[in-house]
C-alpha cells in the first residue's frame, strides 16, 4: 500500500478517532453515572451538527460560535430527553430493557424530527462551509485549517472533561454516583442535580462532536446513527467505565476503520463496503473475549511504568 495513502489514512484516524473519543466519553459517562446504555446518544450529535449547519447557513462562520451553539443545542436535547423521558421512567424503577427501548424511541423521534426539518428547508448532505485555508502541504497530503479545528478541539475538550471528572467537586460527585448511587444519595450528594449536569455535559460534547463532524463531511439526519455502533465499540473497548480506555478505544476503532481497512483492501482485496462491519466485529469480539475492555491492560501497563 502506497505510503502517501498510509499517511492520509493515519491523519483520518487521528481526526475521526478524536471525534469518536468525544462521543464515546459521553456514552461512557451516561452508562456509569446514569446507568443507561443510551442509544439516543447519536442523535445529540446530529442535533448539534444541524444547529451548527443552520447558523452557518445563516451567515455565522466563526468556528468558535458554531461550536458553542452546537454545544448548547446538544446539551438542551440531552437534558430535555432526560427530564421528559428518562427521569420519570427511572422513578418508576423500570427494567434496564425498558430504558434501552425508551432510548431507541427517543433516538427515533429526534432523528425523524431532524429529517422533517432538513426536508422542510431542503438541507440534506451539506457541509458547514467555513472558509478553507491550506496550512501544510507535502506530496499528496494537504492539511487545512479544518484539521486544525477538528482534532485539537476534540482533544482539548477530552482533556478538559477528564480534568473535570478527576479534579473538581462535580467530578467527584459524578464518580461517587458511578460507584454507588444509593450510597451517594445517603451521604447527601444532590443526585438529581449531578445527573442534570451529567446530561448537560454529555449532550454538549456530543453536539460539539456533531459540529466538528460537519466541518469535515456532509451533515445528514443519519450521520449520528451511522456512527453510533463505532462509538459503542470504542466505549466497550474502554469497558464502559474507564476514561483512558475509552479514549484509546476510540483511536483503535478509527485506526481499524481507516488504516487497517485500507490495508486489507490493498493487500487482500477486501471490499471497502465491509468497512461498517469492523466496529461490529470489535464489539462482539470484546464482549465475548474481554468484557472488561482495555481497562485491565492499561492498569497493568501503568503498574509496569511505576
Amino acid at each position: 500500500m502506497p505510503s502517501s495513502l498510509l499517511v492520509t489514512s493515519l491523519v483520518n484516524t487521528i481526526q475521526i478517532g478524536s471525534l469518536y473519543a468525544l462521543m464515546a466519553l459521553g456514552l461512557t459517562l451516561t452508562f456509569s453515572v446514569i446507568k443507561l446504555p443510551n442509544f439516543a446518544h447519536a442523535e445529540y450529535v446530529t442535533a448539534g451538527a444541524y444547529a451548527a449547519l443552520i447558523i452557518s447557513l445563516a451567515g455565522v462562520l466563526n468556528p468558535l460560535i458554531i461550536i458553542a451553539v452546537a454545544f448548547l443545542v446538544g446539551a438542551l436535547t440531552a437534558v430535555v430527553s432526560h427530564l421528559i423521558v428518562f427521569k420519570p421512567l427511572e422513578r418508576q424503577n423500570v427494567s434496564l430493557y425498558t430504558l434501552i427501548l425508551a432510548s431507541f424511541a427517543v433516538g427515533l423521534i429526534i432523528r425523524y424530527i431532524l429529517f422533517t426539518i432538513a426536508d422542510y428547508f431542503n438541507i440534506f448532505d451539506l457541509r458547514i462551509a467555513i472558509p478553507l485555508q491550506i496550512l501544510f502541504r507535502t506530496g499528496s497530503l494537504i492539511l487545512t485549517n479544518l484539521f486544525a479545528w477538528v482534532a485539537p478541539t476534540s482533544i482539548v475538550l477530552v482533556i478538559l472533561l477528564t480534568l473535570l471528572i478527576n479534579r473538581t467537586a462535580l467530578g467527584r460527585e459524578m464518580r461517587a454516583l458511578a460507584n454507588n448511587t444509593i450510597l451517594a444519595r445517603v451521604i447527601g450528594i444532590p443526585v438529581e442535580r449531578v445527573k442534570n449536569y451529567t446530561w448537560l455535559l454529555v449532550g454538549g460534547m456530543a453536539g460539539v462532536a456533531g459540529a466538528l463532524w460537519g466541518l469535515q463531511s456532509a451533515v445528514s439526519p443519519l450521520m449520528g446513527w451511522a456512527a453510533i455502533i463505532s462509538v459503542f465499540a470504542a466505549a466497550i473497548l474502554g469497558g464502559l467505565s474507564s476514561f483512558p480506555g475509552t479514549i484509546l478505544g476510540a483511536y483503535v476503532v478509527a485506526f481499524s476503520e481507516n488504516t487497517i481497512m485500507l490495508f486489507l483492501n490493498f493487500s487482500y482485496g477486501v471490499d471497502l463496503a465491509y468497512k461498517p462491519a469492523i466496529p461490529f466485529i470489535i464489539i462482539i469480539a470484546v464482549l465475548l473475549i474481554r468484557p472488561q475492555g482495555l481497562t485491565q491492560l492499561l492498569k497493568r501497563a501503568g503498574e509496569l511504568g511505576r
Binding site: 421512567l89 425498558t98 422533517t116 462491519a277 464489539i283 472488561q292
Partner: protein, 354 residues
C-alpha cells in the same frame, strides 16, 4: 382526493397483519414470556427473506426442471424472466419451492438463534445480549449486502412472486396469499398459546421473573433460553419469507434496526407476555402502516411541505414512550396463570379467591 379501493386495502392490511403477527408472536415468546431481550428481530426476519431470495433464484428453476440462470450481473434480466415464467406457469414447482423455503428458513434461523443464545452465555452483563443481537443483525446485513452473489449485493432480488401468481385473477391471488399468511399466523398463535400455558411456559416465565430461583428449582435455564430462541427465531424467519413474498423484493435495506423497533412497538403496545396482545399490537401497527401510507400520498399530492413518512416514525416513537410510561403492561395485560390445580381448587372452595 385519492380513491381508496376498500377491498384491496382490506386485503393488504390483513396480509400485513398476518406477517406482523408472526413477528410479534415470536418476540413475545422470547421477551414477553421468557425475558430474552431480542434486539435482533430484524436479523431473524432477514434470514427468512434472504433464504427466499436464494431459493427463488436457484432452487425454483431446478424444481421446474430447468437450468438455473445466475440472478445477478449480466444475466439478471434473463433470470428474472425465468422465475416469473415458472411462477406463472408451473404452480406445483412454486408450491414445493415455497414449502422448502419455509422449512429451510425456519431451520436456519432457529439454528442461528440457538447458537447465539449459547454463545452469549459467556457475556458478563445481561443487556450485552441485546447489544450482540442488535450488532449481529447489522453485521449480517452488511456482509450480505457486500457479497456480490448471494442476493446481488445492494441491488437485491426483485420479482419474488407470490405463490398464487399463476392465477389470472389478481385479486383472487392476493386473497389466497392473505389466507396463507393468516393461516400461518393462526398456527403460530395457537402453538404459542399452548406453549405459554404449559408447564414449560410457566418455567419460562419463572426464568423471566427470577433466574436464580428458577435455577434453584432445578431447571436448566441456559437450555431453556436457547430453546425459546430457537422457536422464536424460526417463527420470525417464516414471517420474513412472507414479508419478502408480500413486497416482492429481497433487499438488505428492509431489515434495519427500525424493523426490530416496529416489532417491539407491537409487543409493548399489545401487552408484554400476552399472545393476544401480540396479535392486537400487530393488527394496530398494520392498520397504522396503511393509514400513514395513504396519508403520506394524499398529503404529498395536496402539496404539503411536510413529508408524512417521517411523521410515522415520530408517531411510533411517541407511542412507544407513552406506553412505557403510562401503560407498561400494554393494552391487553398479561392474564393470571391458571392451571388445572387452580381450577380444581376453585371448584372445591367456591367463593374464595386463590
Amino acid at each position: 382526493m385519492i380513491n381508496i379501493d376498500l377491498g384491496a386495502t382490506a386485503i393488504s392490511v390483513l396480509t400485513l397483519f398476518g406477517i406482523y403477527a408472526l413477528m410479534s408472536i415470536s418476540l413475545n415468546l422470547e421477551y414477553g414470556v421468557a425475558g430474552v431481550p431480542n434486539f435482533g428481530q430484524a436479523l431473524f426476519v432477514s434470514i427468512g427473506a434472504y433464504v427466499a431470495g436464494v431459493t427463488y433464484t436457484r432452487l425454483l428453476p431446478l424444481l421446474a426442471g430447468m437450468e438455473s440462470v445466475h440472478p445477478c450481473g449480466p444475466t439478471m434480466g434473463q433470470a428474472l424472466q425465468l422465475r416469473s415464467e415458472i411462477m406463472a406457469t408451473q404452480p406445483v414447482a412454486g408450491f414445493i419451492n415455497l414449502a422448502l423455503t419455509l422449512v429451510i428458513a425456519a431451520i436456519l434461523s432457529g439454528a442461528v438463534g440457538f447458537a447465539v443464545s449459547y454463545v452469549t452465555l459467556r457475556l458478563k452483563e445481561e443487556w450485552f445480549l441485546a447489544l450482540v443481537l442488535l450488532v449481529g443483525g447489522e453485521t449480517v446485513r452488511i456482509v450480505v449486502r457486500g457479497a456480490d452473489d448471494l442476493i446481488c449485493s445492494h441491488n437485491g432480488i426483485s420479482s419474488v412472486a407470490q405463490p398464487f401468481y399463476f392465477l389470472d385473477d389478481v385479486q383472487m391471488s392476493s386473497i389466497l396469499f392473505m389466507l396463507l399468511a393468516l393461516a400461518l399466523a393462526l398456527i403460530a398463535y395457537l402453538y404459542s398459546q399452548r406453549l405459554t400455558h404449559s408447564p414449560y411456559g410457566r418455567m419460562l416465565k419463572g426464568l423471566r421473573e427470577n433466574e436464580e430461583v428458577t435455577r434453584g428449582l432445578g431447571k436448566g435455564i441456559s437450555l431453556a433460553r436457547a430453546q425459546i430462541m430457537l422457536i422464536g427465531s424460526a417463527i420470525a424467519a417464516i414471517g420474513g419469507v412472507l414479508f419478502a413474498l408480500n413486497t416482492g423484493f429481497v433487499n438488505t435495506n428492509d431489515y434495519v434496526v427500525t424493523l426490530t423497533l416496529d416489532v417491539w412497538v407491537m409487543v409493548v403496545l399489545g401487552g408484554i407476555g400476552n399472545n393476544r396482545g401480540a396479535l392486537l399490537g400487530a393488527a394496530l401497527i398494520a392498520i397504522m402502516d396503511r393509514v400513514t401510507q395513504v396519508a403520506a400520498i394524499a398529503l404529498n399530492m395536496s402539496g404539503s411541505p411536510i413529508e408524512f413518512n417521517y411523521v410515522r416514525f415520530i408517531a411510533f416513537g411517541i407511542i412507544l414512550l407513552l406506553m412505557l410510561r403510562y401503560r407498561p403492561a400494554g393494552l391487553l395485560p398479561e392474564s393470571r396463570l391458571t392451571t388445572i390445580a387452580h381450577e380444581t381448587a376453585k371448584r372445591l372452595t367456591p367463593g374464595k379467591t386463590i
